[in-house]
């Protein structure tokens, strides 16, 4: 399937499109204001909708009376939970949401009713006229409160108290390993929750078109700012009782997602139902505050880590416990729970590993996937813990990592298959580019009291797409269809959703490379459940790898057809043909050439309409065979190393992150401009999480649901970012490519934390690292006390069956690189 990769001997320079920096295919639409986003859509007779949301963190609904709202002139429809009784949820194993609350509300912001009106100006008044009687219940607002009060049951999905899920795994002989260790260290860490804060708020337009001669009654179209049209498609069908064949979900341009637009949402379902009832299009655009309440953001996680090592720093055993604050509903939380324990093993060699994870329900907006999805928090814990270990053992923190790095083509103790891995190269490049050795050698030389400087490092890895789909099925994860028109036009169809990362451009580049045409010629239809074959969505960094491979397969089929007829026509063996520069020619004699459009006509005459489809399903043998093994496996892993340089003001505790170096093993950068953009964006977001972003609550509600109070880094705050792209093509990635959308974020937070320690000798074991914590830590340091992070009151015994598992012996490492190493760097 992947003939065009480095194994065949072609280097990056041999490609015409792949590997060159190019504008995104939608760049010009975006810079001219032509790109349409959901709220830009205006349809004739369109109504405006709004959700009424719960003012209580936890309450029973005693009654809802919508009469007064319905009678307000201009209001055309009002919905309550009784109108949409079917439960839904992104995960089949936690279908715990109602579009509108029926018996209970579980957080301030939980949707309770929906209205549609002629005029957006009367929506607030209409909502105020809905009379809801509540019986307020006690609210639990933290992991510790949730554990301490099982009698206050928030969500029936929890079997025991408010424990949504508990998992417990043991890989390898962990007790023996700890017993054999020369040194053991334990640490607690806390990572506060945070929000995706895409600049575009959630918005959708639903349009029901009645058709009395259709037994179903009509067809529904939903335009929505979503990352996952396919999953929205399925849940809409279930809740509305309309077959999927009669629902069309389209993602227009999406103004950022980062995981926050990957669930099916109440506003989408309600807009559809309101449209069905009124016969008119209905638009619902959420306010910024609503984005904070919809949330599905990063879980707050309390983590405990214990490792056993040999005196030389070799990791022997690790025991990791995570406690996730899930908010009021499941969302992706079960997967998040597994993710907090899954990837510890793919960065460093770990012969024995025990993981216990627990997700709690609380009366807060539900948490879900945010860039890094459940691996960001443990990465912070692990990389700071390793730094502390290095310090305890008097080993250089870089050497400690180098000593333990995982090797390519190995199987981890929890059954994950690592293939390509250029982590050592990432480490080397990050160290060199940042001047790490020189800095550490003359540390404090650049200090200008009260400013003290430090550098910190962290390594990380991420998946290139989840190995398993969200709902169990044996269907492809991604498919691409390509049509060649006899006029020379090329149309590529794929369900993949461009949320700014450039997935559409990747499809165009791949098709263009294989067919030998300019990518600008290609018309792309994406993210439309009626027109495009299913791609599961833009989450888990899957699109380049999976949709890219599907595009390769489809393009290749068409290339075969074109080459067959051109070979005949030009009297050249097909093996000598090459497609490039809008033509197909003899490699040995490029003058012998047929222009692309003519080739297409010949092929259509021979084969009929030229339409090909390609699909991609991840390999089966990439995971262990135990329950829960489905989270963590991926057809490939990307690797990243971050070096952070900080200056800390010892009098005010303010941290200035002066520069971030990000070395990222991307396999092969299909478009280095877009890859670098993702690295920089991930670094920026990691920086924000490290020092200023926090989804915090007070008196039962979100304390700061605005862009003024929830701090997003501005141009003034954002550090200089230097991107270093490392390329060892992956043998299964399209052209060797791997992901870049999420991996680079993870190492930034621990690198900054480690840099702060390097600067002022204090450990802040909580994220975000804010000035008040720094000052407090400096004070405690001077008093000789600890960090003060209290352990979580956790149940004993661990409330679930322990699963033990060992990988089989025949999965061996060959340690061989599969292609040339190439390194790219970009100054910011």
């Amino acid at each position: 399937m992947n003939k065009l990769q480095a194994e065949s001997g072609k280097t990056v320079q041999a490609y015409n499109v792949i590997g060159t920096p190019r504008p995104k295919v939608d760049a010009y639409a975006k810079v001219t204001g032509r790109a349409l986003y959901a709220d830009d859509i205006h349809l004739p007779r369109m109504l405006y909708g709004k959700l009424l949301r719960s003012p209580h963190a936890h309450a029973r609904i005693l009654s809802i009376d919508t009469r007064r709202a319905a009678e307000l002139p201009g209001v055309l429809a009002v919905l309550t939970g009784a109108d949409l009784p079917q439960k839904f949820g992104i995960l089949p194993s936690s279908q715990d949401e109602h579009a509108l609350a029926i018996d209970k509300v579980r957080y301030v912001g939980d949707p309770v009713a929906a209205v549609a009106a002629l005029d957006p100006d009367i929506l607030d008044e209409a909502c105020k006229l809905i009379d809801v009687e509540y019986e307020v219940l006690p609210a639990l607002m933290s992991i510790d409160e949730a554990l301490a009060h099982p009698e206050v049951k928030i969500n029936d999905e929890a079997r025991i108290g408010n424990i949504h899920k508990a998992v417990s795994y043991e890989f390898g002989e962990i007790d023996a390993a700890f017993a054999a260790a020369d040194y053991i260290r334990e640490d607690w860490f806390y990572y506060e929750g945070n929000n995706h804060a895409p600049l575009e708020t959630h918005a959708c337009v639903a349009q029901w078109e009645p058709n009395p001669s259709d037994p179903v009654g009509g067809k529904l179209t939903l335009w929505s700012s979503t990352q996952t049209p396919h999953y929205v498609h399925r849940e809409l069908s279930k809740v509305l009782g309309v077959p999927q064949s009669h629902i069309r979900v389209i993602a227009p341009h999406v103004g950022g997602g980062f995981g926050g637009k990957s669930d099916p949402f109440s506003h989408e379902i309600c807009a559809c139902e309101l449209s069905r009832r009124t016969g008119r299009p209905v638009k619902i655009t959420c306010t910024r505050e609503e984005v904070f309440l919809i949330h599905r953001g990063r879980h707050p996680v309390k983590m405990w880590i214990k490792t056993g090592v040999r005196r030389d720093g070799t990791l022997l055993a690790m025991h990791f416990r995570s406690f996730l604050d899930g908010g009021a509903y499941g969302s992706y939380g079960l997967a998040s729970t597994y993710y907090t324990g899954a990837l510890q093993t793919v960065t460093y060699k770990l012969p024995c590993y025990k993981f216990e994870g627990m997700r709690l329900f609380t009366n807060k907006p539900p948490c879900g996937p945010k860039r890094g999805h459940g691996t960001t928090q443990p990465r912070y814990a692990l990389e700071v813990h390793l730094d502390k270990l290095a310090h305890d053992l008097n080993i250089d923190p870089v050497e400690l990592r180098r000593h333990n790095l995982i090797e390519p083509n190995t199987r981890t103790v929890n059954g994950l298959r690592v293939t390509s891995c250029a982590l050592d190269e990432c480490l080397a490049q990050a160290i060199e580019r940042s001047g790490w050795n020189a800095f550490q050698a003359r540390k404090n030389a650049t200090d200008a009291p009260p400013l003290r400087r430090g550098m910190g490092i962290a390594a990380s890895s991420y998946i290139c797409g989840a190995g398993k789909p969200i709902y169990w099925n044996n269907l492809p994860h991604s498919a691409v269809q390509i049509r060649l028109d006899r006029g020379g036009g090329v149309t590529v169809y794929c369900g993949a959703t461009d949320i700014g990362q450039g997935s559409t451009s990747v499809l165009a580049a791949i098709a263009a490379e294989v067919l030998g045409i300019q990518p600008e010629r290609i018309h792309l239809e994406t993210a439309d459940t009626t027109l495009t074959p299913v791609d599961l969505g833009s989450y888990s960094s899957r699109v380049t790898f999976m949709a890219g491979n599907a595009a390769l397969a489809a393009a290749h089929k068409l290339q075969q057809q074109l080459f067959a007829v051109v070979a005949e026509h030009l009297h050249v063996p097909a093996e000598r043909l090459h497609a490039a520069n809008d033509g197909i020619y003899d490699e040995d004699d490029p003058g012998i050439m047929l222009p692309f459009a003519q080739a297409v006509q010949l092929a259509e005459a021979r084969f009929g309409a030229l339409v090909a489809a390609g699909s991609y399903t991840p390999p089966e043998d990439i995971h262990g065979d135990y329950k829960g093994a489905g989270v963590g496996p991926s057809p490939a892993y990307s690797y990243s190393v971050c070096v952070a340089q900080v200056a800390v003001d010892e009098e005010t505790g303010e941290i200035t992150v002066e520069k971030l170096w990000l070395a990222h093993d991307v396999g092969l950068a299909l478009n280095p401009l877009l890859v670098a953009g993702q690295v920089e964006g991930g670094a920026y977001m990691g920086y924000g999480e490290a020092v200023m972003e926090q989804q915090v609550f007070r008196k039962g509600r979100h304390k700061i649901p605005s862009l003024l109070d929830y701090k997003l880094a501005t141009t003034i705050d954002t550090p200089e970012i230097e991107t270093i792209l490392i390329e060892i093509p992956d043998r299964e990635g399209p052209f060797g490519g791997k992901e870049a959308g999420q991996g680079p974020l993870n190492p930034v937070i621990p690198a900054i934390a480690n840099a702060v320690y390097n600067a002022i000798g204090v450990r802040i074991d909580e994220v975000p690292i804010t000035p008040d914590k720094v000052l407090k830590a400096l004070k405690t340091l001077s008093q000789g006390k600890g960090t003060g992070l209290q352990p979580t009151h956790s149940p004993s015994p661990w409330p679930t069956r322990l699963i033990t598992w060992q990988p089989e012996e025949d999965l061996v490492a060959d340690g061989q690189r599969t292609g040339p190493v190439s390194v790219r760097g970009g100054e910011s």
Partner: protein, 171 residues
Amino acid sequence: MRELITLHVNGERHEVAVLLHHTLLEVLREDMGLIGTKHGCELGECGACTVLLDGVPVLSCLTLPVEVQENEITTIEGLEEHGKLHPLQETFAELGAAQCGYCTPGILLSGVALLQTHPHPTREQMKDFLAGNLCRCTGYTKIYAAVDAAAQRMAGGDPANVHPQVEVAHE
């Protein structure tokens, strides 16, 4: 009751019947079909709704149309002329300064205003001028590169000379 007002937008005179309490953001998007101007918060906390008023960046979400009838309003749609893009639009596209594109209209207009008053802006000046435009995707890195490249292009530099800064080092 709607009131008839006159707005000068992108060099054109428009009579628009508006509700007085609708902000310029809402009138542009909902009454005039100019959906290029975006909104991220409606409270002046993000800069997505930036438009130019006589060349000066302001927030359309906090501007009343009735107050700006004597001013020349420029929206993103007005940056191009007869389909020819402003150099900053060109370099934004060429150098990857727009990812999701949602902050792009606002940040382009702030950038254009910057280049008007500072034809060769330093990095510090870029940061200060763009400090009121949040971007969630790019880390601002390629935005600075695009402003720089546009400055060169506007000073008569060869357009073809502007290249994305991604070096390749081989073993």
